[in-house]
Subunit: 353 residues, 2 copies
Amino acid sequence: MPTTISDVPTPSFLVDYDKVKKNAQKMIDTCERLGVQLRPHMKTHKTVELGTLMTNGTNRTIEVSTLEEAEFYAKNGFDDILYAHPLIAARIERCKKLAYRLKAFHVMIENFHGLIALLSSPLENGKKWSVYLEIDDGCGRSGVPWDSGDVIKLAKEASESPYIDLQGLYLYNGKTYEATDSKGIENTNKEGTDLLTNSHKRFTDNNIECRTLAIGNTPSCSRPHEGMNVLTEFHPGNYIFYDMQQVTIGSCDIDDIACHCGFLALSYDGMNEYPNEFSTFVDNPDLKVIGFSQEIGKVTTKSGDKLNYDKYPIGSQLFIIPWHSCATACQHTVFYVHSGNKITDMWKPAKGW
Amino acid sequence: MPTTISDVPTPSFLVDYDKVKKNAQKMIDTCERLGVQLRPHMKTHKTVELGTLMTNGTNRTIEVSTLEEAEFYAKNGFDDILYAHPLIAARIERCKKLAYRLKAFHVMIENFHGLIALLSSPLENGKKWSVYLEIDDGCGRSGVPWDSGDVIKLAKEASESPYIDLQGLYLYNGKTYEATDSKGIENTNKEGTDLLTNSHKRFTDNNIECRTLAIGNTPSCSRPHEGMNVLTEFHPGNYIFYDMQQVTIGSCDIDDIACHCGFLALSYDGMNEYPNEFSTFVDNPDLKVIGFSQEIGKVTTKSGDKLNYDKYPIGSQLFIIPWHSCATACQHTVFYVHSGNKITDMWKPAKGW
C-alpha cells in the first residue's frame, strides 16, 4: 500500500475518508431529523466499506443498481437490499436466489412485463416477492407515468396477488437535475413529494395498501424541505462522494466533494454540456481537459494562457474533481483512501453486471 | 457459461470469433507481404487469447498502453513487449522489474524527463534500456515535435549513453483519424512514411544508429500503401475488433466489426461529434441512444417515428455496434465469445493501471 498520496500510481481514484465520513453522517442526521428511513444507493462506489459507513454500521437497508452489486453485498453480509432497476424476465432466476438468501430482498417494476415475470415465477416456502412500483414524473428515465391509468392497474394487480407484497411507491425525482441552486431543488422536492402523496391517495381510494413512499436521488435528499417527513424512505447515492455536477445543481459545496482522480481515467460524461466544469483541477482552476486518446489526455488553460511547465513539470501529479463521480469511480478497480496526505486503506469495488 | 447469445446476461460485450480470426489473419498477411514486423497493440482488448491470435501464436512482439498490461502479459508468458506510453520517472521501478524479467522490454520516450529518468536508473548485469523515441507529426497527442531540434538532441544523447539501446523511431500517425475514406488514409500514410524516413535520414546524418522505423494505428496499417515497406514495424491495435469510428474513417467495412455489446455499457466517446453513428444498432438502423443514466439508456429513432414495441418488446436484447471498441471493451470484466449463435468461450481482460 502506498504511504502518501504522492506514492499512489497514476491514474488513481482517491477517496477522502474524513469527507465521506462527514457526508455519510450528515445524511444519517437528515433522515433521523425527518423521521424517514435512509436506504442509501451503493451504485456510486460499490464497496463494502462505504456500504457500512452509509448504513451507520448496520449493513442493512440498501439499494443497488445491478444484480452483481446485490450478490456482492449479500455475500458480504448485507441484508434488506432493493434491486432498483426495472425488472426484466431474463433476471428472475438470479432475483429468486437473492430472495431466498436474504431476509429482505426487493425488486422494482414499472410495467406489466415486470409484473408478469413475477407472477409467472412465484416464490415458495411462504415467501412473497417484495415489490416497489416506480412512477415517472415525466423525466422519462424509468417508471410508469405517474398520471397514467397503468399506475393503478399495476398496483391493483400486484396487491391482489398472493405472491406479491406491494411494498412501496418510488419516485426518482429526476427533475432535480435541472436545478441550478438549492432553492430550485427544494421546489422540485415539493412537487415530487406532492406527486408521491397524491399517488398514495389514489392507492387508498382504490383500496390498495402500500407502506413505503420512497424518493430518490442525491439532490432531493441533500436539500430536503421539512414537508418531506410525510415520506418514509430516502434513496440517495452520489452524496457519499458528490462531484462537480452536484455543485452545479446546488446539492453541495465544492468542499464537500470527497473524491478526486489522478490524471487520467475520467468519464466523458458532462464534457459536452459543461466543458469548463467537467474536469476541475484541484488548486489549478485555470486548467481543463479537452480530449482523451486511450491513456493520454490533453490539458489546456481556460484563459488561453500557455501551460506553465515550471508549475507543472512533466511527471507531476494533477488532481481532478470529476464531473460525475459514479461514472468515474466505475473506471477503477481500486480506490485509494486517504486522510490528509496519508493513504489509510485500499477499497475494491464490485464490477460488472 | 451461457449456451447461446440469447442466454448471455445483459449488458455484455460480445466478440465474434470468426471475425477476430479473420481480422488478425489479414493484418498478419499484410505485414508479411510488406516485409514489416507486426507488433500488435493489446490496449483494445487486453486479453491473453487475442494476444495469442494477433501474434500468430508466438506470444512475442506486442505493444501495451499501461504497465498493468505489460505485467499481465509478462505473467502470461508473453515476451518482447513495448510499453508504448510516454515514460515518467514515477514508473521506472516497475519498468526495471519488467526489463529484468523479459528477454525484451522496450520503453518509449518523448522528452528529456523520460530520458533523464532512464539515465538516472541504469539497468545492471549488462542489460540496457531498449528505447523507442516517439515523434509527433503535429497532432499533439504525444511525441517530440518531428521538426524540432529536440528530436536530434534526445536521440544523440540516448544513442551515446552506455545504458541505452536506441531501438527505434515511432510515429503514431494520428492524422489518419481525420480521414473520411481509405484514400484519405493512404495519403496520410504517405506523409507519415516520409516523415519517418526523413527523420531517419537526419539520424544517419548525425551518426545516430536506429534500427526500427515504426508506425502506429489501425487506420494506417489497415490501408497501407506499398511504399510503406521501407518501414520495419506496424503497431495497430483496434483492428482486431474495429468499430463505427473506423468505418467512418475508412479503415474497414461495417461487416468487419467483430464486437457488439448488449444494451447498455457503452462509452460516451463519439456521442458528441457523431450522434447518429456512435450507437449503431445491429439490424435496427433507425435506432439510436440519446443518453444514459447509470444503468439506464434512452433509445429513440433517427426518423422521429415512434418506437415499435411489437418489434422490440420490453426485455428484448438489443445489439449495438460501438463507436469506439477500445473505450467500450474497457467497461467490461468479461467478453462473451461467440461463433454464430453459440457461445464458445469467456475471456477476462486485464484491468487497471
